[in-house]
Amino acid sequence: MSPSRSNWLKIFPYLTLAAFLLPILVGLVFTGAPAFGLLSAAGPSGFSLDPLRLLLFHPSLPGALRATILSGVTAASLSLALALWIAATMHGTKLWRLIEFSLAPLLSLPHAAFAIGFVFLIAPSGWLLRAVSPVPSGFAYPPDWITAGDPWAVSLTLTMVLKETPFMLLMVFSGLSRIDVKRTVWVGRSLGYHRLRIWTRLIIPQLYPMLRLPLFAVIAYSLSVVDLAYIIGPSLPPTLSVLIDRWFNEPDTSYRMIGAAGAVLLFFITLLCIVTALLVEYLVKKAAAGRMLNGQRRSPFEPLAATGSLYAMLILLINVLCLLVLIIWSLSNIWRFPDFLPSHYALGNWAKSWERMVEPLSVSVAAALASCLISSILVIGCFENERTLAQTRQISISQRSLWIIFMPLLIPQISFLFGIQVLLVILHLDGTWFALIWIHLVFVLPYVFLTLANAYRTYDQRFSHVGITLSSSPRKTFTRVKLPILMKPVLFSLAVGFSVSIAQYLPTLYVGNGRFATITTETVSLAAGSDRRIIAVYALSQFILPLIGYVSAITVPYVMHRNRQLMRN
């Protein structure tokens, strides 16, 4: 590495931090300040606790807090527990490989599209009830049940569990790739331990540290999600994040101060939940330490081991059913209750929606491509700089730097997006492409970093050494040796980033200032009460975009390296 190139690379970590940390920090300040009567849009004022007081006495707050904490904490805990249980009971089986194969398409189904499909399944007029109506249920008309949007947020919790368990499973797969599971299980078994004991005593203690940050990200997401809560969450009162969003968008600007106070409260609730998770981890570790060496080979949960595959199949099945019901609705012309399938099909829903969808689709793709491309350049620049630094100063990536990368995922979006919006208005940058791409970058960059990190850091640097000695050109070696060898993980990280960008709802609304409609913002707004057939068309379109990304990430390297056996794995 020539000194000039090393110097040039040093700029990447600073650029990256500025790109995704600066907006968050500034956003937190500008969102939090009105909660204390400062920087208020309602006019000049001084420090005051009135907004907080108004919030605490607001009649909707207790219900909103109950729905938020109940759904958020339950969804995050259940997702982690299910992912670990599925892994412990199924690792190494054929079904485990099927899960691994299904994860990319499962994750490419955006939350909003999934939630819409789930509503179409569980609604009183949904597909599940149609399957048993009119016989044996006896329903000739949809019953008067509350299935979606229940006040205890059970449907919201279920939706999040069904979406976050595959995410946690992906993190489990990633973590397990760094643990020698096969030999650990082999050694454990040779010592007479049951499979579940081996997992709880040998594998999970190694695995959990790698799941800690993803779990915190799931906690933060589950506590603060807005688009899902609008589609399937309770409405009277809604979850805290929805309540805050409504306050921020009230025409009466004084509500924004209560909204800011709510955003601060949500931030601290999230922080409290993360600290509680750390405390629980500490207590479990302490309690388990005493039992670790008690020689107990058998596990009391052995009879339940078969439920692991049951849960996995159920998650897979529900995802497939959600997708199927969306496809059927999008193609249906007349579908009356209790018919199991439509009586008339038509392509008219797609034709009717296409004209209105072109612009949101174009905006979505453009923002996603731009934010992914910039993210990839920044991330690869950071990795190259990290390698150069490691060559000169022996640095290694620490857990602390991972916390920084995870930061945008650990803070509720609504706790800093309003502040960013205020800042952009001050700078006359609201509603610009620059702002839209930047805010997408904030959320895309961590995912690109996390999905690329392992492959990039484990690349055999000797290929580049040989390349440089052969070509005398670091640039040629980088573009013709390193990048092609890393093509598969780079494209996969781009696909992940692309799907993250496509799914952004709140950031697009707040920063776009109403000037940008993406397929996600349109889908969520339609979900509030439009024609099911049109909603299905939009939800499927929202799914198709990331799917194209994932399919490309898999097929392009496959086609390009179809004759290169060593590039297939």
Binding site: R462, V466, L470, P474, N563
Partner: protein, 207 residues
């Protein structure tokens, strides 16, 4: 065209890995360096190549063809290297791997001609389009050396390149590698555990 090491010593912290080493390798000759695991054989090659880990400190002078290499960037040293792993680029076929080493500015036809000629010299005619995964261990070793030589290095370093080959293959690959180096008239430095790898049975022991 010679490679000279003058009082070369590499230390980890304050501990030297070996006593100061001085040697001159003449064109077309292969100097062999031996020593137990961890004595610094591969580290010495990394220092000559310019990829020495920063944890190590280097003292002494490396001169290649009258050029002092100490402060020259890796890509400008013109030192080729062969490892025990072939390190053929997995995304390229045999032709792509070899053409990568050719200097810029050659036409497609010139590149083809040079690669084909090089492959013929190693009894690998018609291997241009082969995926490297389909090559045998000996074929990979030969392609790897041919690739290194196509870059026209002024010296070549051999980091236990025969250690992963079985006995029979080891002998034939060794003969091929040494023959090519002598034909190219470039100096080579071989580090190995095996006395038998030394072309003339002599070696320098790192102590």
């Amino acid at each position: 065209m010679s490679l000279a090491l003058e009082s070369v010593q590499i230390s980890l912290g304050s501990t030297p890995l070996f006593s100061p080493l001085s040697l001159t390798v003449e064109p077309g000759t292969i100097a062999t360096v031996m020593g137990p695991s961890g004595c610094g054989k591969s580290t010495l090659l990394a220092a000559i190549c310019g990829t020495l880990d920063p944890g190590f400190s280097f003292a002494g002078t490396i001169v290649l063809n009258g050029r002092k290499l100490n402060d020259i960037a890796v890509e400008q040293r013109r030192v080729g290297i062969l490892f025990q792993d072939d390190l053929l680029f997995p995304h390229l076929d045999v032709f792509g791997n070899m053409a990568f080493a050719l200097p810029a500015g050659l036409s497609g036809a010139q590149k083809r001609e040079r690669v084909i000629k090089s492959l013929e010299s190693a009894d690998l005619e018609g291997f241009q389009k082969r995926d490297i995964a389909t090559l045998s261990g000996g074929q990979k070793a030969r392609v790897s050396l041919l690739r290194a030589l196509l870059a026209e290095p002024e010296a070549i370093l051999l980091d236990e390149p025969f250690s992963k080959l079985d006995e029979e293959l080891r002998s034939s690959v060794r003969t091929f590698v040494f023959g090519q180096i002598r034909r190219m008239q470039i100096p080579a430095l071989l580090v190995t555990h095996e006395t038998a790898d030394s072309p003339d049975g002599t070696y320098i022991k790192l102590t």
